[in-house]
Structures are given as structure tokens and as C-alpha cells.
């Protein structure tokens, strides 16, 4: 306890100055977090949106950054050349399926076949000149890297990795 005049007070100016500095640094960090969040570093935003694959085969719009148990979606564009015998046979890798839940595919596949460590979804499709769109929504159930591999059976495939925040 310190005596200042006739006042007994545990004022400690050195620690106080240090604590003001930390306080100011903290404000800067909060501002940075907000800016990064607006840019999409914590999912959804310009820095997070990405596209993988190619227009001639399979092209997927995805978010680089996801959150554990948050909602995520993939927008899959399939070139018309990939429609074989009136159907599209899309496969999704097992390690991705293992780390996600609540997978909903729109439109619904006609059948789902387990093929080793991957699943094959079959969609009936008319021949067309426009790319076909399939949307997948899911909830990641992992923290850290979430590898995704999606492709057409006996056709092109796309590989990318998403990052999952706690």
C-alpha cells in the first residue's frame, strides 16, 4: 500500500501505464479482427470465396474458411459433356463425408452407391448445352483442414481444402 499525501491507495502508475498500453493494443486487435471478418477471413466474404476445377469438367464454388458446426455449401457446376447416357454420376470422397454431417444435395440424387472410400450419387439428366448445377449443403464437424474431393465417375475431379475454425 502506497501513501500519496494523506491517502492510502494501491495505485501503481507503472502497472497502470502498462495496462493502458495493453488496452490500446487490444483496441487495435479488435479493429483488425473486424476488418479481417469483413474481408472474409472468418468465413463468407471476398477472401473466402473461391472456385476450383474447370468449366470443361467440374467447377465448384466454395468457401475457403468454414466454422465447426456452422453451415456451409458447395455450388457444383457440371459441364454438359459429363452427362453420359442420361445421367450424371458424381462421387464425393469418404474423408470429406466423414468430417461433415447434415449433407443435403439439391436436386436429390436418384441413388447413392457406396464405392470403397467414396460415395457415388446418380442424377438423371437430359442432354443440354448449358452446364448443370448441383448444390450441396453440409455442416463441418472438424477443426482444421477439411479436404474435399469431388468428381465425375470416369471423368474429371476437383481437389481442394477448406479450413474449419473452432
Amino acid at each position: 500500500m502506497q501513501t500519496i499525501g494523506d491517502l492510502e491507495l494501491d495505485q501503481d502508475l507503472d502497472v497502470q501505464r502498462w495496462s493502458w498500453r495493453v488496452e490500446r493494443a487490444g483496441w487495435v486487435i479488435i479493429a483488425l479482427v473486424l476488418i479481417l471478418a469483413m474481408l472474409g477471413v472468418f468465413s463468407t466474404g471476398p477472401l473466402s470465396s473461391a472456385t476450383a476445377g474447370s468449366v470443361e469438367g467440374v467447377e465448384i464454388d466454395y468457401q475457403r474458411f468454414l466454422r465447426n458446426n456452422g453451415e456451409a455449401s458447395l455450388d457444383i457446376l457440371i459441364a454438359p459433356e459429363q452427362i453420359v447416357d442420361g445421367e450424371i454420376r458424381l462421387w464425393v470422397s469418404g474423408d470429406y463425408l466423414e468430417k461433415t454431417s447434415q449433407l443435403v444435395i439439391e436436386p436429390q440424387p436418384k441413388e447413392t452407391v457406396i464405392d470403397g472410400d467414396r460415395q457415388v450419387f446418380t442424377f438423371p439428366a437430359e442432354a443440354s448445352s448449358e452446364p448443370v448445377r448441383i448444390a450441396m449443403s453440409y455442416e463441418p464437424e472438424t477443426i482444421g483442414r477439411l479436404p474435399v474431393r469431388i468428381g465425375i465417375v470416369d471423368g474429371p475431379s476437383v481437389d481442394f481444402t477448406q479450413f474449419c475454425y473452432p
Binding site: I4, G5, E23, N69
Partner: protein
């Protein structure tokens, strides 16, 4: 394990975030501050409980929070030097006729704030009646009048 880790990380995050908002943060509660506090607790609650509404989860989360609270009070008691870091310390704002301008600026407290504290707590209405004004670590301003005005 999840429940304890979630509650612990939220506890530490809240401790840090409220520490860096400064002493003034939420002690002088305006109606808006109250609403803000409710929104913060609502947001925190969901992250802390996850989607597990079981009694076990609630018990674990509460035990973690209380455990951290007790631990931090033991730490600050055993190591008094850590107390100003974890809990902040009092600060003189006004002493014997002189404002401590630097302190007031850093804590965002105006002369009007000091006079208001004097009026509401001590029935004092002039600066020359005040001997000391101290910003306590809890965020309120203590007013100590000259003996003649007691």
C-alpha cells in the same frame, strides 16, 4: 472434455475483452449498456453450450466457470502483484485542487463525470469541496470531500 474447453476459452476471452475495454466499461449502466450485456450473454450462452442441452453439460460448464473464478481470486490473493493485471487497480483523478489530466484522458473521464459522481454519492456540488476523486478498479468514481464538508 468439450464442455470444459468451451467454457474455459469463453471465460478467458471475456476476461481479456472486458479488461481491454477499460475500467469504465459496464459499471455505469445506461439502459443501452444493459441491453448490450443481455445480447452478449445470449451470444455467449450458445457458443458455450453448443447443441448439448443435457444436465451434465450444464453442470460441467458451471463448474468450469466457478472453478476459474475461484482460481483467479486465489491467484490474486496469493500474488498481489498480479492483481492490477488481472483485475485492474484504483487511479487518482483529482487531488487537492488538481485534475490528473493524463489519467482522465486515458480513462475517458471528464470533469463533468467527476462532479456527477460527487452529486449523486455525496451531495457535493462544487469542485472545491472535493479533496480526492478516485477511479476505483470496479469503474465507479469515489469522491472524498474535505473534512469541513463531511
Amino acid at each position: 472434455m468439450d464442455a470444459v474447453l468451451r467454457a474455459a476459452s469463453i471465460y478467458i476471452f471475456l476476461l481479456v475483452i472486458f479488461r481491454i475495454t477499460g475500467k469504465r466499461s459496464l459499471t455505469e449502466m445506461t439502459p443501452f449498456d444493459l441491453i448490450l450485456l443481455l445480447i452478449i450473454s445470449e451470444t455467449t450462452q450458445q457458443a458455450m453450450l453448443g447443441d448439448d442441452f443435457s444436465t451434465t453439460n450444464a453442470v460441467l460448464v458451471i463448474c468450469t466457470l466457478i472453478g476459474f473464478e475461484v482460481a483467479s481470486s486465489i491467484i490474486t490473493f496469493r500474488f498481489p502483484r498480479l492483481s492490477p493485471i488481472l483485475e485492474d487497480a484504483p487511479l487518482i483523478l483529482y487531488a487537492n485542487g488538481k485534475f490528473q489530466k493524463e489519467h482522465m484522458k486515458k480513462e475517458r473521464i471528464t470533469e463533468a463525470d467527476i462532479l456527477r459522481a460527487a452529486r449523486t454519492n455525496q451531495g457535493i456540488y462544487r469542485l472545491d469541496q472535493i479533496k480526492y476523486a478516485i477511479l476505483e478498479k470496479t469503474g465507479e468514481v469515489s469522491i472524498l470531500p474535505f473534512d469541513d464538508y463531511l
